[in-house]
């Protein structure tokens, strides 16, 4: 813009405005063209590149590797695995499905928590409210219930597969133990959830279950050597579990906290260890080449 032209009267200003608006229009057109190009190829935008560090559009081995390694959700995977390890017949997919069900349960569980009060007055009414008034409430509760049952089954089958393929053997012995703990946690999670609707089914199932705690040796008031050690219904292990001598409001609150906070947290920690160890112990165990009896190395003398 020429400074000398300034202040020469109205015609000059008009001319200038027209000129500038023309330039602006051209610039806008140009940028819109660029935006159009971006929409066609969003991978080239700054926004896209800031989120996805690795270009995905070209499937070079390097990109495929980085796609897994540079992604926080996928990084527990190795970049490449044995060509036969992806076969369904080997793993049955049960470990992965168990983990997916845990995610489904966490998701539906959090949604259910929005509608639930762990108190004797409210709990049962909240379930009725969920079933009859909350949009998709019944579906939500059903999914949580059936996912929990399914997870118990998939965890058992996962363990079954690990035994059949001998995957617990060296160097995976410790990870098997972590898996056993996860199995116990799965059952406990399911069991603590049983009481929460506060209906007859849950109440009596938990009553039956926790009554066994009375008979715990040494620390139950009906167990061997319990009475001799001063155990009564008011100080034994069952009292600690229920927060009282009967299944009542304290038991409901305790079941709720175990179910929604303590046990999922523990399970998540052990799952982290479990998956980490799968990688550190050399990935999934097979399908490995078969070993022959004639190739057994002689016994190591200790």
């Amino acid at each position: 813009m020429d400074r000398e032209k300034e202040g020469r009267g109205g015609v000059g200003v008009l001319e200038r405005v027209r000129e500038e608006s023309e330039q602006l229009r051209m610039r806008l057109k140009e940028e819109l063209e660029g935006l159009k190009q971006d929409l066609k190829e969003p991978q080239r935008t700054q926004l896209w590149r800031s989120i996805f560090r690795v270009p995905h559009e070209r499937t070079t081995p390097r990109n495929r590797t980085l796609a897994v390694l540079a992604n926080v959700f996928l990084h527990l995977h190795p970049a490449r695995i044995n060509r036969d390890a992806v076969r369904y017949s080997y793993t049955w997919g049960m470990g992965g499905i168990s983990f997916y069900l845990f995610i489904v349960l966490t998701f539906t569980g959090v949604l259910l928590m929005f509608y639930y009060h762990p108190t004797k007055v409210q709990a049962f009414r909240d379930i009725l409210y969920l079933e009859h008034d909350v949009p998709f409430g019944r579906l939500l509760r059903n999914m949580h219930r059936w996912a929990a049952h399914l997870m118990v089954i998939t965890v058992w089958l996962h363990m079954f597969r690990v035994v059949l393929t001998g995957s617990y053997k060296r160097p995976r012995e410790f990870n098997w133990c972590v898996g056993v703990i996860l199995l116990v946690l799965t059952l406990l999670l399911s069991f603590t959830g049983y009481l929460l609707p506060d209906d007859q089914l849950g109440f009596w199932a938990v009553t039956v279950g926790t009554n066994m705690a009375r008979a715990t040796p040494l620390i139950g008031h009906e167990g061997p050597f319990g009475p001799q050690l001063g155990m009564t219904p008011y100080n034994d292990v069952r009292f600690a579990l229920l927060g009282g001598s009967i299944v009542d409001s304290n038991a409901l609150l305790r079941a709720y906290i175990w179910h929604c906070i303590a046990l999922p947290l523990l399970a998540a920690i052990f799952m982290g260890v479990h998956f980490w160890r799968v990688r550190k112990d050399g990935g999934i165990s097979g399908p490995a080449p078969v070993m022959l009896e004639s190739e057994m190395k002689p016994v190591r003398k200790v």
């Binding site: 495929r64 897994v68 996928l74 995977h77 190795p78 970049a79 490449r80 695995i81 044995n82 390890a85 992806v86 017949s89 499905i97 997916y100 489904v104 059903n142 999914m143 219930r145 996912a147 049952h149 118990v152 089954i153 058992w156 089958l157 059949l164 393929t165 001998g166 995957s167 617990y168 053997k169 060296r170 012995e173 098997w176 056993v180 199995l183 059952l187 399911s190 069991f191 609707p197 209906d199 007859q200 109440f203 009596w204 199932a205 039956v208 009554n211 066994m212 705690a213 008979a215 040796p217 167990g223 061997p224 009967i246 299944v247 165990s285 097979g286 080449p289 078969v290 022959l292 057994m296």
Partner: protein, 311 residues
Amino acid sequence: MDWYQLWQIISAPDNVPIVGLLVIVPFYTWYGLRQARANDRLIQELEANPELAKTHHRKTFPYRPGWPTEVHVWPYLLRIEFLAAIIVTALLMVWSLTLDAPLEEPANPNLTPNPSKAPWYFVGLQEMLVYFDPWFAGVVLPTLIIIGLMAFPYVDANPLGNGYYTWRQRTVAIGSFLIGFYLWIALIIVGTLMRGPGWMLFWPGQTWDHTRLVYEVNRNLPDLFGITSDWGKGIFGLFAVVLFYLAAGFGLHKLVTRSPLNRKIYERTSLVQYLIFQFFAITILVGLPAKILLRLLFRIKYVWITPWFNI
């Protein structure tokens, strides 16, 4: 046959997983053992032909020299995981749309349902209460099962069968686990389908009779031998249990050292490993069924009676 009642038990939404297990567990057993048989055949072939063993890729899956031994996780594994997630979600959706989670009347401590049952995955433990006192069935036995499972890899000294399906190379390990796994599931099925009011045994399809009385009187083993004093019962029971462990241990030992391969594996097993294996195998895999049979066939309640605990 009371088909209506049978249908009511089977179709109870919470019992669906048990009916599922009746199909799923045999299927996956077959699925695993079929691959074990294929591998066993390959092993036999390679064992007979050392030249082939040197060059063979040692799997039943197709492989040609030059094929890559590894594949990229992206996309070859991730697409399977994605597909599995979609299938499981769809299955859950259909299941949740067609079957409602049970909800009974509000909890009422004054109204005890008969029978009142634990959640299905713990019904096996509840069923064991018939055969053992609560301290054993409900506390000690589950603890032993968990510890036994954890000890499993440490007492299995067999180096064969690491990472592939096989039966012949691992008969003892797989056999033990299968017995335990099936026992657990059998107890769940009996507890769910065959236990009616008062936890009495009703065959599937037999009408639950709330007024049924059982005139069988349970007996204790010492009574059969006419032992009456407390000291006598205690010592007799201890003697009986020790004798059982010795006899079962001897029988198990004969069984697990029968084949030449199993003898070789036995030689690699340290004494501590072997005794731990024997203890858990006798207690859980032999003792439990033995006590069930004693009870069901001879109506024997306790074997060992002491002032503090009874077994």
